[in-house]
Subunit: 281 residues, 2 copies
């Protein structure tokens, strides 16, 4: 396994692989790797000849006051993780190389970027779409792998790739959870033991949503009110948003039908966590 | 020579060429081809194994009230032109295929897009950057060829390709002029014989700029005033802008040094024409 820090070297390597007819699988990450990333790497390994994982804490997707500086960074731990998972290359570029001082170009997916998380993190998904476009142009993958945990990111990546005719497939893999149900996230590292316990209410609330819908509840407003009351029973949790939306357009649904995405974001102490579930009627 | 209308077919064709190690040269156009385009095609032919020219009047780069509907369209004439120039493929996609009804993704190059032409054509360069990104992802060229006549477009294409790490080279070829000096443009078709004569003042003003600078004039404001007075001697011309800017950043220069770009846009009757010259000190 190689660690490649130069954009040009990565691009040359990928170009050579493509000319040699190798299928390239790509897992874009911000590091602090966990079993969620592992499931992406395994799928990439299974379906491709070459597997590239990028580790880049992307400054343009953090807002002022967000956790850019304290976001967990551990290259040697991540590299060992990737080696074990069978990656061929860890792409680890520097921020100044990715965004030179006169950097000016941004990619935006309208409508999908200013709702849900985007409503509370202005510019976040512009940063995500921009860095993904850059990484795709550098790594030139046949397939790129995303986790369903970041549902909005996955929807935006898929729409962007389709709209801009990017010559690749976006694959979205199921959320990986701890045994007790907590969705894997690098930000779980921030939680105290007490907060870690309280965080279980996210997945429990989503299970409750599934239960309510399976019992025939069909109006989002009532379900959302019940779920918020359910969450309120746990102390120290602040709901940022909880919505029931169309899984492709992310538009709020008044009435449940076909397939819906139940999404929520909460603050536990200083930590912001998100989770979601797709429910089919 | 083939005419390819399907995005997927074009993408497959290019993918197969790249796998076979063929160098692809690409000339993006809106059709109504003239000798300016011919110089791009010839260079592309010289430097590549395969030459693709796109003919697509891109709706997202026209503003309300602009000439989208009357922009000259002549596929059979253009196809004959391309065949003679040795193109391998004319890529001719439909607008609905390029922009499906739920299209949402745009590429923007900040600062460079809202000055000069962009100041008078809001959204224009966002449309240009977006369609170029799409076309580059579809055609997957090694090199793409632009004319210096559209100087701002060339600067934006180059910056966008650099910023987004697109795996290709942007080549900018000199403006091709009629014998009398008028820069080749599809919009010259709109001019009446009288307007066609008046339009000579664009290139004459640029020559005058060159002369003034070669004589030692160094302050932009004085030169610009003299050039506007020079143009005013021709009746029926309205200057939209006339500026002396840095050729890379497009920022106005108070004082001339090194290398400057003199750019202007005028209206002659209902027709808007642009021209420019790079002057080295």
């Amino acid at each position: 396994m190689r660690i490649v820090k130069s954009i040009r070297k990565m691009q040359e390597l990928s170009g050579a692989w493509r000319k040699a007819g190798r299928r390239i699988g790509f897992v874009p990450t911000m590091g602090a790797l966990h079993n969620g990333h592992l499931s992406l790497l395994r799928r990439a390994r299974r379906d491709n000849d070459r597997v590239v994982i990028s580790v880049f804490v992307n400054p343009t997707q953090f807002g002022p006051g967000e956790d850019f500086n304290k976001y967990p960074r551990d290259l040697s731990g991540d590299a060992a993780f990737c080696r074990k998972a069978g990656a061929d290359v860890v792409f680890y570029p520097g921020a100044r190389q990715m965004y030179p001082s006169d950097y000016k170009t941004y990619v935006e997916v309208w409508d999908l970027s200013n709702v849900l998380c985007g409503n509370f993190r202005p510019g976040h998904f512009r940063g995500v779409a921009t860095v993904l476009t850059k990484l795709f142009n550098i790594v030139q993958p046949d397939s790129a792998y995303f986790g369903q945990k970041d549902a909005q990111q996955a929807v935006i990546a898929r729409r962007m790739a389709r709209d801009l005719n990017m010559p690749l497939r976006i694959e979205v893999m199921p959320t990986v959870r701890d045994k007790d149900g907590l969705a894997m996230s690098s930000r779980n590292n921030y939680l105290s033991p007490q907060e870690r316990k309280r965080a279980l209410v996210l997945s429990l609330a989503l299970k409750e949503a599934e239960r309510l819908i399976s019992r025939g509840r069909r109006y989002s407003s009532g379900i959302i009110a019940d779920l918020k009351a359910f969450i309120r029973r746990t102390p120290g949790i602040r709901v940022q948003y909880l919505e029931i939306v169309d899984p492709d357009t992310l538009r709020p649904l008044v009435k449940i039908k076909d397939k819906v995405l139940v999404v929520l974001a909460v603050h536990i102490g200083k930590t912001r966590l998100i989770d979601n579930i797709v429910v089919k009627v």
